[in-house]
Amino acid sequence: MQLSREAMLKAYRSMVKIREFEERLHLENPKGEIPGFLHLYSGQEAVAVGVCEHLTPRDYIISTHRGHGHSIAKGCDVGLMMKEIYGRRDGLCNGKGGSMHIADVDKGMLGANGIVGAGQPIAVGAAIACKLRKDGSVSVSFTGDGASNQGTVFEALNMAVVLQVPKVFMFENNGYSEHTGASYGTGAKDLPRRIEGFGLPVFHADGFDFFSVHAAVGEALAVARNGGGPAAIYCETTRYFGHFEGDPMLYRAPDEVARFRAEKDCLMNFRARVTEAGLLRPGELADIDEEIAELIERSVVEAKAATRLTAADLLTNVYAAY
């Protein structure tokens, strides 16, 4: 499927937004104003955007602990996300959730999740709702290579097949389950075949290439949206930063990230593809880069200046206070 100019510009904007957001957090984090853990998505942008460019607010996604990219791709407001990550009152979850629990149900983003493998069964439930609504909507879960070994994911795969719900499982293997190589923790040498064994079609994509992901997701959605039950996509990608910010990444070869950045970067690939084919002009892309840089700068400045939470906020959103 050839994408329109507008669709390509939109996808590029979304990918750059994720990249700028994450790279900026990487720079801001050592300043000590960001609480808690940050798990950054830099390097994997083609996956989140390749999925979410197909989705509407009626469709659901559920994310992982590495959730910023999925959230941005699904349309969450980066200003509100930044405030959330800084723990401010008007953050996306009023400062109560933080980086690992960003959600925006109105946008169909059912949440990042601090428990590895918790999201997939939840996404099956959302797919039941989609099926009952009969409006062609779908539910998509993102699953890392680490989570792919959780029992909850096996159960969700099987139940989605049994119930024939409109559910798409996006498996994104970034090479590392926390501090351990993905190949160590997954006994099956061919993970897609293992997934296929649950009884659903698995489409393959190149996780470094937006167009490849976008095409594979299109095929999976054609199954799920048209009553064909669940489908899966498998792709390999990489993360540019540690499992969490501060992780010294002793498990990676020292030049590995630099090599990925220089040779396989998804944004670099995208720019080269669309400009060499004459589909988009370099100036258009540069304009987007500039626009997003300003957006992210503004979001950080506003987050730092945003209202802090007070004692009056501690026991809101509870049904009983003791």
Binding site: G114, H179, T180, L250, A320
Partner: protein, 337 residues
Amino acid sequence: MPIKTMRDAINEALHQEMARDPSVIVLGEDVSGGAGGTSGTRDAAGGVFGLTRGLLPRFGADRVIDTPISESAIIGAANGAALAGLRPVAEIMFSDFIGVCLDQVMNQAAKFRYMLGGKAKAPLVIRMTIGAGMGAAAQHSQTIYSMLTGIAGIKVVIPSNPYDAKGLLISAIRDDDPVIYLEHKMLYGEQGEVPEESYIVPFGEANLLREGEHATVVAIARMVPFAAQVVDKLEAEGIACDLIDPRTTSPLDEDTILESVRATGRLIIVDESPPRCSVASDIAALAAQKAFRYLKAPVAMVTAPHCPVPFSPDLERLYIPSPERIEAAIRAAVAYK
């Protein structure tokens, strides 16, 4: 005596017990780390908080087992290994993740000895981190021991200082029953005297850290150093308190608590858990049941509120019982007529 952090004391206990007893194994996510990585470095993590560092290079991958991210299988495997004669020490990175594997804890490990007519034992240890204070939000900050203490068949151990951490972990590994061993993340850097040699701190024996006639303060985990700070401050003003760290909430040393309450007549319990059905309310009930006529003031509980742990440090600070709240509660109990 050497000064060590709680992190090093726990690491030392693991090293010493693995060296002493070849049936001790360690398993969990990234307990070594680096397997399958591109640097070729093993022990790339040594546990996400560094507690199991150095074990794999010393004892090998057969006994120091990096697992997939599969909490049910980790605890299930620890159960099976224990039934088959090993002494597994399983790590669940954050106690919050017990939600993923609770069946293996509450229906399996906890039940074996009794349900099988005393014919089986399951000498496993489950190490987990607890506690708020890192901005780690609702799914990485809970204390969870109140729920676990309510399960018959498992022992629940909560050290508050490096000395106890080492001795209690050695007891846990040598114990023939399933033991949940909970490490407060904010205490890992706490320093204290820790002997080089191996020693045990027995279960069911509370630690009386301070002695005083005016009130009894019972505190758990990170609340022990918080309470000690307050008790020392009040001591200078002439308000003297017993400060008791139960160290194990199951079994609970009722005698030490009751003896103190009978002497002081005033009880303040400090617990970083929500108040309902908690260790704090359990100890309050104990005093009401067994020391009622000695009480001179209502039992006071200084706890977290009944809500998930908030992310924002502005709220997290309010969630965690503070020295100020502890001080106010002690003063109110002592002033009560």
